[in-house]
Symmetry: C3
Amino acid sequence: MTQSFKISELAALTGGSLTGEDAEITGIAAFETAAPGQITFIEKPGDEKFIEQLKTSQASCLIVPLTADIETSVPLLKVKNPKFAFALIAEKLHPYKWKSGWHKSFDVPENSDIRASFVGAFVTVGENTYIGESTQIYAGVRIGANVSIGKCTIIHSNCVIYDNVSIGGDCVIHAGTVIGADGFGYVRGDEKYIKFPQIGTVVIEDEVEIGANSCVDRGALGETRIGRGTKIDNQVQIAHNVQIGERVVIAAQTGISGSTVIESDAVIGGQVGMGDHARVKSGAIIGSQAGVLPGKIVRAGVWWGTPVQPLDEYKRQNAHVKGLARLKEEVKELKKKLENKEPE
Amino acid sequence: MTQSFKISELAALTGGSLTGEDAEITGIAAFETAAPGQITFIEKPGDEKFIEQLKTSQASCLIVPLTADIETSVPLLKVKNPKFAFALIAEKLHPYKWKSGWHKSFDVPENSDIRASFVGAFVTVGENTYIGESTQIYAGVRIGANVSIGKCTIIHSNCVIYDNVSIGGDCVIHAGTVIGADGFGYVRGDEKYIKFPQIGTVVIEDEVEIGANSCVDRGALGETRIGRGTKIDNQVQIAHNVQIGERVVIAAQTGISGSTVIESDAVIGGQVGMGDHARVKSGAIIGSQAGVLPGKIVRAGVWWGTPVQPLDEYKRQNAHVKGLARLKEEVKELKKKLENKEPE
Amino acid sequence: MTQSFKISELAALTGGSLTGEDAEITGIAAFETAAPGQITFIEKPGDEKFIEQLKTSQASCLIVPLTADIETSVPLLKVKNPKFAFALIAEKLHPYKWKSGWHKSFDVPENSDIRASFVGAFVTVGENTYIGESTQIYAGVRIGANVSIGKCTIIHSNCVIYDNVSIGGDCVIHAGTVIGADGFGYVRGDEKYIKFPQIGTVVIEDEVEIGANSCVDRGALGETRIGRGTKIDNQVQIAHNVQIGERVVIAAQTGISGSTVIESDAVIGGQVGMGDHARVKSGAIIGSQAGVLPGKIVRAGVWWGTPVQPLDEYKRQNAHVKGLARLKEEVKELKKKLENKEPE
């Protein structure tokens, strides 16, 4: 059952070149633990610790940068981006195992078009729903009515997809994630809150990955959208009408309030909070635990703190705060000096 | 299947008055996208952008404040609170679709009184449990023993309600939310932690809405309580013995520690953290990401920061911090001046 | 069905001594609400409020510290650690009710060894999985292939355990928690992100408790590990390759980034964020909402703030910041004084 490739084949796959003898590779490993038959990688081959460890490495192949100049008996695969090549090779050696078959408990819903190659146990799907070829629906997943899910998408166990949601192809949604719940919008009357209508949709484009126990709320009137190739971690909260561009990265436990826009290629750390109607421009990088005020525009560059500031400013300000004890001391001394002069 | 109302009927519903010709309304929309047959609203009709857009609006009715003085061919519905009227009308035009029927997989538990009009697939319910009329239990919901759930409550897919929990009527609990798990209480002995007993209950009163993937822990010895009409967002954590009043609003990812009290009509932002045994008084508004120390009493007014301060103080303090570079410069100059005087 | 013990039996259990008459105890309660037949405890019997309330207490037994000197008709159980003794007694009087039986919907997987005494409705388990004696698998739980779960472990409803995960004995995992989802690791190529391999495992040792809706990701190449006796609250996020020692306590909504190490006996508050490759040393206590930078080493002691500092420093710094208005005033006065001297 084990996949196996020659280094020369992996060189062709990654556009790299082999130095040393060709060999059969059956698995990947971290540099420290690589055993015979395994391939590993190193990003910065300069440091001494690495050179020492390399002497006793059992790895059958080491992926290194093009510029690496290393003496070793371990065969080398030289590539432009070792980590990227390693990830490509990992996909080949440890591919996702596509499952097939529909569990006997699955009742095909009316007016639906279910082409999924795998439907696990105790799955429920609503009417008028389309699920594309090869798609994998794990046990206990709930899919509403009028849902569309593309090809080769993987929905892990116990996810809940509400009605009218659209999910693209080649997506991965991890366990327990909820897509399409009502947005959090109420209007206060004299005596109580009533719900602002939450009748919009969610559109998730192709190649999006969302972690476990995250939430993406439906739009109030329009749609909540997550762009192609965006990657979202566990326990992230995406509110109604948020618009996220392509290739955005959002780390765990971040929360994004209603109608905020995150442009393509932004990078958002963990536990970041964003107010509503904010805009994060393409190229912005926001550090963990930062807070973005409602309506704020965050331009390209690195940002941190609450409220977010450019990282340089944040650091300068932090240094000033840390220097406060000394500043206070200086003012005290000045005062004393001035008082000593007084009697003159 | 589409609901349809005359503007004059909607005027009667909302206590408003119609200016212009009566027409048939079949749906709601945002102002920018409203099409023929749709009703929309505007809160502040003063600004130019709106007046320009109104010229080409296809809406069949526009809800405006009583004081609005607008020249337009679009029929106007004048009301005291346009957003509230819009939400009321949305409820009429896009009502929740009550489902009925019990899935064949449902085993009615012993000594139970299940009156729910809808029980989805693969639901489990424990003994001695009561579920009121019209209530909707979606697929994959787990309900423990000795649970009570009122009438017209909606429990979305894959929620888990532990034993001995009580939930009122007209509530909505979104998917993946867990109610009644053990509180987080341990006692450290010499060698390990043992669990402090978590044998209390959770009581959720009528008209409460809780978002997706939230948690409400049971009381350690007494109860955790959420008051009537309170609205809670996604991924909120409510610890053992927390007492929340009526019409409280809590935004996403906020965490409230054990035994803290939140009085009626408080408003809590997202990602707020509260220590244990704190008290948030009625009328308090706490900004996102704020931190409330254990035992702290937060009075009426607007608060922000960690530890929370009145917003005015927080802003003043922030301004002082931002001015630190200049202050430092000033002290430096004073020093120089004083030194220049020295030789005199 | 009610358990019942004599105070003298509970004294033997807890290594305490009885003062007053022996009696039958059927339940536990908080001091304020204890009724006849119930046992309660008090940690600091000094304060007046307690002495006043004690006069009317209906409790059948009061657990107090060894040093307590109280005049009361209520029988006293004197122990070294009243809260610990109370928790021990609670375990006896209100023990977990072990369930038995396998639901008819359970299909025993191939090559598996399922000894669990309870398997709820609509549970799914993968091939080559081992589940130990007495273990309780609640309804809707998903367990992957090649999983190992020890004896006397309780997995609450709708949890998801991915393939190749190992969970010890005497653990409790609360509802909705996801163990073994992919870590959040991607490599950016020229045009898109591809997944860094996430093919490692999760190992959870004995006596670990994890709250509801938490996530523990699998290691990228190696393992994510949670040590014996560690207690984790709701909505906690533990990333790939995190190593957590024994008897660590982590409060709700905390997030720990990849490869970070938390040594045994550390205590972590709620909503704490930790960057990757950080190390929290044994004996460290980190306050709620604190932020630990990537690579940071947090030594024994109490820490708070973002970035974390020793609590004393944090407090001093906070005091300086609060004093900024006065400092500014002082600098202004100095300036004025110096200017007044100028004309000399």
